[in-house]
């Protein structure tokens, strides 16, 4: 199989390290059976709560494993299973915590909104299908070779195609599912195509081996290496919806149920960003010296160009958007751009805090995006549509929810006091540190453009009187999501220090991200 490496099968101790994944899978299987056995009369909300519980237990396991591994300090060795094809390290654990927390929020959000959505017929599936999706995301963040990575990607993608089409009675939802399936297929094809070239020139699917073999491969197959990386980037570019691969996002987000849109915007995007991070820093980074440096620089540079394109295209397209879900999709495009920046900056002598910048923004993005989707689900139910004007006069109808929305908007726009402010600030400082000033300028310009449509929302809420004065009812579960997200967003905006310091304390590039 690989040169000089024999395959090591899974032992019982290894199984313990996989406890979170196994737990989720077990809960998933259990819920399928339960759904079949339970009589029709029993509310499927109970399945939703069980999904939620399963996620919390798994979250607990991941956190426990991470704390346990970090007892010895930052340099704790990573655990690799199955000949380095699966890795348990702080990079993976932190991302898993983010994904599981996000999915737990999303299940809560779904619990709050599912009752009012008649277009969803299979309510149990609506909840438990999120589990294989998040397992896929966890596999992607833990993968040490291209095959594991691809399987995780497909697990995530296939389940999300179904989830997008969950509103079976809505033609918009069906159309969205179809579009997502086609675009997702293209994405998988591009990724696989790129991977096959990498395997071809280095003879391995193991990221560590690829990284070692790459300088040698570049001597003979420079063009093929380009092909491999660029096609993979394009494929993942579709998943994270960076420009010019973003066009599917508004249509799909609009058709999908709000919680699923939030899932695509946060977990799906985050997982794809994580694998780009992992691949780039384990392979491209080592192609240094002479000709190799050109290739390495070019690929990092392309990531930066994609980032810049996403920021500019996302914000300018959103200017004319009247549908809030499409608006959030395009804001997600711009945010994908911000999160690509720490990846594309590479590591230099003066700048190596890429991961903490990335994860801080991802956390802030998770909170503000899920929070905004939660508010949107409440408002759209009251207004009967998802247009911007549904928010009009909201301050007079539901002042506290409007206040929470202001927090999310401030964070999305990157203004203090919010998590988004420090997230963007850290990324901006990173770009300035690495002396990539043109990119810093684009970050600033795109932020300024984005104020226009973010404050369009605020204007609607505070300065327009609504057409109807009906109260906006907030279901308890949705309310919990809104307030947890708002409180955490403000907390991140007031005290960015503790989280940043903790990440810096547990995370070491050498042992947690790189394999060599």
């Amino acid at each position: 199989m690989y040169e000089g490496v024999s395959f090591i099968p899974l032992t019982w101790t290894d199984m313990l390290y996989l406890a979170p994944e196994f737990t989720l899978a077990a809960v998933f299987l259990l819920l399928i059976v339960l759904d079949l056995l339970l009589p029709k009369s029993v509310s499927r909300l109970s399945i939703g709560w069980l999904t939620f519980a399963g996620l919390l237990v798994t979250l607990g396991l991941v956190v426990w494993r991470m704390l346990d591994m970090n007892k010895a300090g930052a340099a704790a060795d990573a655990v690799h299973l199955l000949s380095n094809s699966y890795r348990i390290d702080d990079f993976a654990s932190l991302l898993k915590i983010v994904f599981l927390t996000g999915t737990a929020f999303i299940v809560l959000l779904a619990l709050g909104s599912v009752r009012d959505d008649d277009a969803i017929t299979d309510r149990a599936e609506y909840f438990y299908l999120l589990l294989p999706a998040v397992i896929g995301a966890m596999m992607m963040s833990s993968s040490g070779n291209l095959v594991t990575l691809y399987i995780g990607l497909e697990l995530l993608s296939l389940t999300s195609y179904v989830l997008v089409g969950m509103r079976r009675k809505s033609s918009l939802s069906a159309e969205a599912a179809f579009k997502y399936l086609v675009t997702g297929g293209i994405s998988s094809a591009l990724v696989l195509f790129g991977m096959s070239y990498l395997y071809g020139v280095t003879g391995s699917v193991d990221l560590a081996v690829i990284g070692k073999a790459l300088p040698g491969a570049l001597v003979d197959f420079q063009a093929l290496v380009y092909v491999g990386f660029l096609f993979m980037l394009a494929g993942f570019g579709i998943k994270i919806a960076t420009a010019p691969f973003h066009a599917w996002a508004p249509d799909v987000y609009q058709g999908a149920p709000s919680p699923v849109s939030a899932f695509l915007a946060v977990i799906s995007k985050g997982a794809a960003l994580a694998v780009i991070f992992r691949i780039m820093f384990n392979t491209v980074l080592f192609a240094v010296g002479g000709e190799d440096a050109n290739v390495s620089n070019d690929i990092f540079f392309i990531v930066l160009v994609l980032a810049a394109a996403a920021m500019l295209v996302g914000t300018t397209t959103a200017l004319r958007q009247k549908n809030v879900k499409r608006l959030l999709a395009l804001s997600g495009v711009a945010n994908a751009g911000y999160m690509l920046v720490p990846i594309g900056l590479s590591i230099t002598v003066v700048h190596s805090s890429n991961f903490s910048e990335f994860i801080y923004y991802l956390i802030a993005y998770l909170l503000m995006t899920i929070g905004a989707f939660a508010v949107l689900s409440v408002v759209s139910r009251s207004a009967g549509h998802e247009e911007l004007k549904g928010f009009s006069g909201m301050y007079y109808r539901a002042p506290w929810t409007a206040a929470a929305m202001v927090v999310f908007v401030l964070s999305l726009a990157g203004l203090p006091v919010s998590g988004g402010f420090f997230g963007k600030l850290f990324i901006l400082l990173g770009a300035a540190n690495a002396k990539i000033y043109w990119l810093a300028a684009i970050i600033v310009v795109s932020s300024v453009i984005s104020y226009y449509f973010y404050f369009g929302l605020v204007r609607q809420m505070f300065m327009r009187s609504g057409s109807d004065d009906s109260d906006i009812r907030v279901p308890a579960a949705t309310g919990a999501v809104i307030w947890l997200c708002a409180a955490a967003t403000i907390a991140l905006g007031l005290f960015p220090g503790p989280l940043m310091e903790w990440i810096d304390a547990v995370f070491s590039i050498r042992s947690d991200l790189m394999f060599q």
Partner: protein, 623 residues
């Protein structure tokens, strides 16, 4: 030991909670405002009192708690709170006056439709002021400094349907902004020059007090003057005093709380907090002393010719703040803070008394009052106590603190001693004029149907009157307890028979003259107005400072502004419109891509991908 000091961070949270609850309730619960606001400030007062009692012992240690807020690169920004004897004293003053004003407003604002909003603002102000007092570094102090400014703006313009109130709020905000800009630059300079960019008061003290020479004298003077500029704006010192008399458009309880006892004293507090910087620069100290002395006499003379009861008290506040500044400039920290302490009580008392009068007669013109003494006994008696305290008559509190300032002046700067004495004479004169015109003589038009205010309003008056009598005994010429407590070092008693006799003499002389003119009527009131009409006019118009500003600053600025707005409209506006049009046309272009066809999406992705690949990678393969 200092157990309660550790819990000092709780104090601002009570009014903050009150503010949040009141905001959440909205206007629906009119009675709730009074209770929630009063309970919030009462709880804060109780805790502050415990802290002070806890610290009354000889060697109370300063308590400081701070944590890392933001770490950027090597720089760490720490924020926290600090309890010293000075801050403990300020806590008590702020929370006590705030509580009494809350109670008083229950009667005064009773019929106002937006009373809940009013209580919300007052709670927010109290929170900000307490945050300012507790701050352990200049940055968070500055944030709260701005926040109290915002609250002042909101409360001065509380009756925003009155154009004068709107104008006054705007003026207060803009004029203090000039000072704030100075303060901000001062803080930035300090940040730049301080070792490790530290901004906390402990480090500032050790750097400047230790004569480490880390910062040159020139820079020290510059920083001190810039900080002083902030204090000039906030504390209404000449030449930025113009906003304070206009701020009297706000509700009277607000004048008592913000524009007499607490916020305007923040400038004095700021200098006391950064006193080590000032002591390092003789030039800065002299500036503070002379600006303070000039303001003291200047505002006192203006107060002589005003007819609006609140404006008289406002100029009196400006004048008294001048005394405090003068004391600080004369190296008498104790004198300045002592006067701040006593002034807070008797001036709040006078304002609340004035509010009680206005409540009864519905006018602010003292010439339309008269004879109120028999109709409003509580108000009259307490007002008399406040007036005597302000005029510096023993044994009332104002005498002791003013005496201390004058003693300091006599020792170091005889010129300022004379200025201070002259100011004291004017003070006694305008207060007796005010008192006799309002409470004595025959009732005039407005005073006919007046009657005493309700108990919610007289109770605070009585409490403050008691304090105005006794607050001065903490420091007398024979007993330096307050100074020793404040500085932590034993201070000698500082009695000076000359000063005591001189200050009593000018006080009594002022009152006697006032009585002759406005009480007994044996000297004609118009005697000066007939002989020197221009002088009266000059004083009435406050030396035409406002008019001078209008002619020298506002009009030229407006002209420049008009010119700039033309530039803005055609040049800047043109550029903005072009940029906006360009942005939105890019947006339109990419929105056109969103036609709902997956084929188009994929095609766009492929084209974009090819462009990027060719542009970036292609150049490597070109010959």
């Amino acid at each position: 030991m200092e157990m309660y000091s550790q819990a000092a961070w709780l104090i601002p949270l009570f009014p903050l909670a009150a503010f949040l609850v009141l905001t959440a309730l909205g206007r629906s619960f009119r009675r709730a405002g009074v209770f929630i606001g009063s309970i919030g400030s009462l709880a804060a007062f109780a805790l502050s009192l415990l802290i002070v009692i806890d610290r009354l012992g000889a060697n109370a240690v300063d308590y400081n708690y701070a944590f890392d807020w933001i770490r950027i690169g090597d720089y760490t920004l720490r924020i926290g709170f600090e309890v010293t004897n000075l801050t403990a004293m300020m806590l008590v003053v702020v929370t006590l006056v705030s509580f009494l004003v809350n109670v008083y407003s229950a009667g005064y604002m009773k019929n106002d439709e937006r009373i809940t909003v009013f209580y919300g603002y007052v709670a927010l102000f109290t929170f900000s002021m307490l945050g300012l007092v507790l701050s352990d570094n200049l940055l968070s102090l500055y944030i709260f400094w701005e926040l109290v400014g915002v609250c002042s703006f909101l409360l001065v313009g509380f009756w925003y349907s009155k154009p004068k109130a709107r104008a006054a709020a705007k003026k207060a905000f803009i004029v203090t902004r000039i000072g704030d800009a100075g303060l901000l630059i001062g803080i930035l300079l300090l940040f730049w020059y301080m070792p490790n960019h530290a901004l906390d008061f402990t480090t500032i003290q050790s750097v400047f007090d230790g004569q480490t020479g880390a910062i040159t004298t020139g820079i020290t003077t510059l920083i001190a003057l810039l900080i002083f500029l902030g204090a000039v704006g906030k504390s209404g010192q000449f030449p930025l005093h113009v906003w304070l008399p206009d701020a009297m458009e706000g509700p009277t309880p607000i004048s008592a709380l913000i524009h007499a006892a607490t916020m305007v004293a923040a400038g004095v507090f700021l200098i006391a907090r950064t006193y080590d910087i000032f002591q390092d620069s003789a030039a800065a100290m002299e500036t503070v002393a002379y600006v303070g002395g000039f303001t003291a006499i200047f505002a006192a003379t203006v107060a002589l010719a005003q007819n609006d009861i609140k404006r008289i008290l406002a100029y009196s506040t400006v004048s008294q703040l001048g005394y405090m500044m003068m004391a600080l400039g004369l190296h008498s920290l104790t004198g300045g803070i002592f006067h701040l302490f006593t002034h807070a009580f008797f001036k709040a008392l006078l304002f609340l008394g004035a509010g009680s009068i206005i409540h009864a007669v519905h006018t602010q013109n003292i010439n339309e009052m008269g004879g109120l003494g028999s109709k409003m006994r509580v108000t009259a008696w307490t007002f008399a106590i406040g007036a005597l305290a302000l005029s510096g008559i023993p044994p009332f509190s104002g005498f002791w603190s003013k005496d201390m300032i004058l003693t300091a002046a006599l020792e170091t700067n005889p010129l300022l001693f004379v200025v201070g004495l002259a100011g004291a004479f004017c003070t006694a004169l305008y207060m007796s004029r005010l008192f006799f015109l309002v409470f004595m003589g025959k009732p005039k038009s407005a005073a006919a149907g007046a009657h005493e205010s309700p108990a919610t309003m007289t109770f605070p008056l009585i409490v403050l009157a008691v304090l105005a009598i006794i607050a001065g005994f903490v420091e007398t010429p024979w007993n330096g307890w307050f100074g020793s407590w404040l500085s932590g070092e034993p201070e000698d008693a500082h009695g000076s028979g000359v000063v005591i006799i001189a200050s009593i003499a000018v006080g009594l002389l002022g009152i006697y003259l006032g009585w002759l003119v406005y009480g007994k009527g044996s000297v004609s009131r118009t005697v000066i107005a007939e002989r020197l009409p221009w002088l009266v006019k000059l004083l009435e118009r406050s030396y035409y400072v406002d008019e001078l500003y209008a002619a020298v600053i506002v009009k030229p600025l407006k002209a420049i502004g008009a010119a700039l707005s033309v530039f803005d409209e055609y040049v800047v506006g043109g550029v903005v419109r072009v940029a906006g049009a360009a942005t939105s046309s890019v947006g339109r272009l990419s929105a056109r891509l969103q036609n709902g066809q997956v084929q188009t999406y994929s095609l766009a992705a492929v084209i974009g991908f090819v462009i990027i690949v060719v542009a970036i990678v292609g150049r490597r393969f070109l010959p």
